[in-house]
């Protein structure tokens, strides 16, 4: 990769913004699996594998699966955040392979959040 200049930083920022924030024409849904030490210890890897497997089987192309660090509620790991374009992100807790498959089927594919596994909806305040 080339060495960056201050100008490049701004360009990358814009580029990634369009990749990361869901937009019309791009991805429709993003699922973040929280994989800090706490998440991994609680079984996040299996959850991730199950999700990728479902994704592969279904052949969806407008979905991003990504990982991130601890989401802050270590006692409720494994956790995942599902964000559908133009909707509030939903955080799911105490996941296992079976639950993430249900979430994939109902929330990711059909757009209906799985209430019984969800903890909260919305984004955290950061400033």
């Amino acid at each position: 990769m080339p060495r960056l200049t201050v100008e490049d930083l701004k360009k990358i920022k814009e580029e990634y913004k369009s990749i990361l924030t869901l937009r019309e024409g791009g991805a429709r849904v993003k699922v973040t699996i929280h994989m800090g030490t706490c998440g991994i210890a609680a079984g996040a890897r299996k959850v991730m594998e199950a999700l990728l497997e479902e994704k592969g089987k279904s052949g969806v192309t407008d979905m991003i699966v990504t990982t991130s660090g601890c989401a802050g509620l270590c006692s409720k790991e494994p956790m995942a955040t599902v964000e559908i374009i133009n909707e509030s992100p939903v955080k799911y807790v105490h996941l296992n392979e079976e639950k993430i498959r249900t979430i994939f089927k109902e929330h990711v594919m059909e757009g209906k959040p799985v209430e019984q596994y969800a903890l909260v909806m919305g984004s955290e305040t950061a400033y």
Partner: protein
């Protein structure tokens, strides 16, 4: 399409219809027609809004004003006040905003409501292994600003104005530290990051290093520019493999992109970072010991002065800051000191990350504005104590901190106020204890830790903590004697005054605070040989209050020793010869019928008598004089 001024969503679900929504709806249309508002207000009859228990309900947009349990007579007021005059009728409004489905919103859950993310602003949002994601969240913008637009003096000035204090525990103003180092003249200076998080129950730094490694690098680049350093080290404990891996990846990516190394961002500034893995000795979190360890020597502190800012790593001026401190730096540079000061108090500005653990519902990582009362952290954000047990104390600051009792829960979390209680804010470990905890045993646990972790260089710490531990062992095993409490206090004072480094100077804090706030527990251990929580096995007798016993059998099933006898409708009884004081019956009983008595209640059994016990007392030279 018509341009409506207001939209009214009226629920037409079965629940609301059953509750009378049809007549309310008719009244609404009637009123709107009467007032001639048909072209301004759009009424939509929706399907079930899943608020059936509150029906009939309607929501008015914009503003998402939610009116539950509407009656026909309310409609006139809503139309007059809200639709015409623009004043939502508070009397009729729901206390909380309506929720979409059954999933609550963040503002409705205290755990999220009271948090403000600054150091953790990328928490759970970005992929730690992709530098682009960090950049997309304003990553490296602050470094660019510091390298291109600011002089070292300006950076230091901004840091001083911000009032940011070391988040590792000591709370030393970061700007001052940087200034001192910037002033020192040397051919080489170092910027270090302390990732040697060692307090039991603390995991703030680990989480930042794992989840947002680039923010640490960026903070260090800014610090390097401020003091004129070209070389940095991150000291991480080897027990944090994921943190090490992600930091290394971040460093490699930053180097590849010209954000570390030579000529950073084309500005001509050179700075490089290396990771050094520590072997996990607690003392290596102390600044001078950390530097010795980095030099490849045995991690032991050295006397100060000279301060590390002047003579640190390999004798060169060195700045050492904690992970969380660095995580705060980029945002201060980007948004300014005044922005940073919008949260927190005058002397403790900004936010602090805490790791909640122990007897609390929401175990996890939180970030709150400084000055928030402890009660709010524990009972609102933390969700209180599980299993209907009672709060007893919260331990702050790990082995260097202390236990804060219920009566002081309204203490605001600032460096000064927490210090007044005898504890310290520390790096942010917060261990909550319930009424099942014996405070003497808690003190003993921390002393065990410091005895193990004392590096052994100076006698007050090496011997002092061992002697204190022996005394606590005597007390918890039934060999406590009059004068032990005073001796502990006396020893504590000596250790605090005479120890070389922070480890020894703070090691007695857990003992001192538990004596200060729970002295009666020490006294009952020593005088009555009675541990009222049943933790100290030698000092308790479990028995069943037969008048209160409902003979439900819970304790009988819980007992691993089959020590409990009793039938249905026959009060149960504990066979003392079999009881191993595991507390299962006590914890399990729903009727508070299992009681804990003093040791003397089972003296009839074949236990060593008090005299034999006293003969086993660990004798120390402490307090004996010449």
């Amino acid at each position: 399409m018509e341009n409506y001024r207001l939209s009214v969503m009226m629920c037409g679900g079965t629940g609301c219809t059953a509750a009378g929504s049809l007549t309310v709806k008719d009244a609404l249309f009637e009123e709107i027609r009467k007032k001639g508002l048909e072209k301004e207000i759009n009424v939509v009859i929706t399907t079930c809004s899943s608020f059936c228990s509150q029906g009939p309900v309607m929501t008015v947009y914009p503003g998402e004003i939610f009116y539950p349990k509407l009656a026909t007579k309310d409609i006139l007021e809503v139309v007059e006040e809200h639709f015409i005059k623009g004043r939502p009728v508070e009397r009729l409004m729901y206390k909380e905003s309506p929720r979409k489905g059954a999933i609550p919103l963040m503002k409705d859950i205290p755990f999220y409501k009271y948090q403000v993310l600054r150091a953790l602003r990328n928490k759970g949002l970005i992929d730690a292994e992709k530098i682009g994601e960090y950049i997309s969240r304003d990553g490296y913008q602050a470094a660019a600003k510091a390298l291109t637009e600011m002089t070292p003096e300006q950076i230091i000035d901004e840091m001083k104005k911000s009032g940011l204090r070391g988040r590792g525990g000591a709370g030393f103003p970061t700007g001052l530290k940087w200034e001192e180092s910037a002033k020192a003249r040397a051919d080489q200076k170092y910027i270090l990051c302390n990732g040697d998080e060692g307090d039991p129950g603390a995991f703030m730094d680990r989480s930042i290093m794992e989840g947002d490694p680039h923010v640490v690098l960026e903070g260090m680049i800014i610090g390097a520019k401020a003091i004129g350093s070209t070389k940095g080290y991150i000291y991480v404990r080897a027990e944090y493999p994921l943190a090490v891996q992600r930091l290394q990846l971040a460093i490699d990516q930053a180097k590849e992109n010209g954000l570390l190394g030579e000529n950073i961002l084309g500005t001509g500034f050179n700075f490089d970072i290396e990771i050094y893995q520590g072997a996990g000795a607690f003392v290596c979190g102390e600044s001078t010991a950390l530097m010795r360890s980095l030099e490849g020597k045995r991690g032991m502190p050295r006397p100060r002065p000279p301060q590390s800012a002047v003579k640190g790593l390999w004798g060169k001026p060195t700045v050492l800051n904690n992970v969380e401190t660095y995580a705060n730096v980029p945002q201060i540079i980007l948004n300014g000191a005044d922005w940073f000061r919008t949260l927190g108090t005058e002397k403790s500005a900004g936010t602090k990350v805490f790791a909640l653990s122990g007897a609390i519902n929401n175990i996890g990582l939180i970030e709150v504005p400084m000055g928030i009362p402890l009660r709010k952290i524990i009972f609102d954000i933390g969700g209180g104590i599980p299993n209907k047990r009672k709060f007893k104390a919260v331990q702050l600051g790990g082995p260097s901190g202390g236990c804060i009792p219920e009566s002081l829960l309204d203490t605001p979390v600032t460096y000064e106020d927490i210090m007044k209680t005898g504890a310290i804010v520390g790096s942010g470990g917060m261990v909550v204890m319930n009424d099942l905890n014996c405070m003497v045993s808690v003190a003993k646990f921390f002393l065990e830790f410091t005895v193990e972790e004392s590096c052994g260089k100076c006698p007050p710490c090496r011997l002092g903590t061992t002697v204190m531990h022996d005394i606590l062992l005597n007390i918890t095993e039934g060999r406590g004697a009059e004068g032990d409490i005073e001796l502990l206090e006396d020893l504590s004072r000596d250790i605090i005054t005479a120890s070389l480094c922070g480890l020894g100077q703070t090691a007695p804090n857990p003992v001192l605070t538990t004596i200060k706030y729970f002295r009666e527990e020490y006294e009952s251990h020593i005088n009555e040989k009675w541990c009222k929580t049943g933790v100290c096995k030698e000092l308790c007798t479990f028995y069943i209050d037969e008048e209160k016993c409902k003979a439900c059998g819970v304790c009988k099933r819980a007992c691993p020793q089959n020590a409990i006898s009793g039938e249905k409708k026959v009060p149960h009884r504990i066979d003392q010869s079999r009881c191993i004081q595991c507390r299962s019956c006590y914890v399990g009983c729903k009727f508070d019928s299992v009681k804990i008595g003093p040791r003397s209640m089972r003296d009839a059994m074949d236990l060593p008598d008090q005299e034999a016990l006293n003969n086993m007392r660990i004798e120390t030279m402490a307090g004996k004089g010449e």
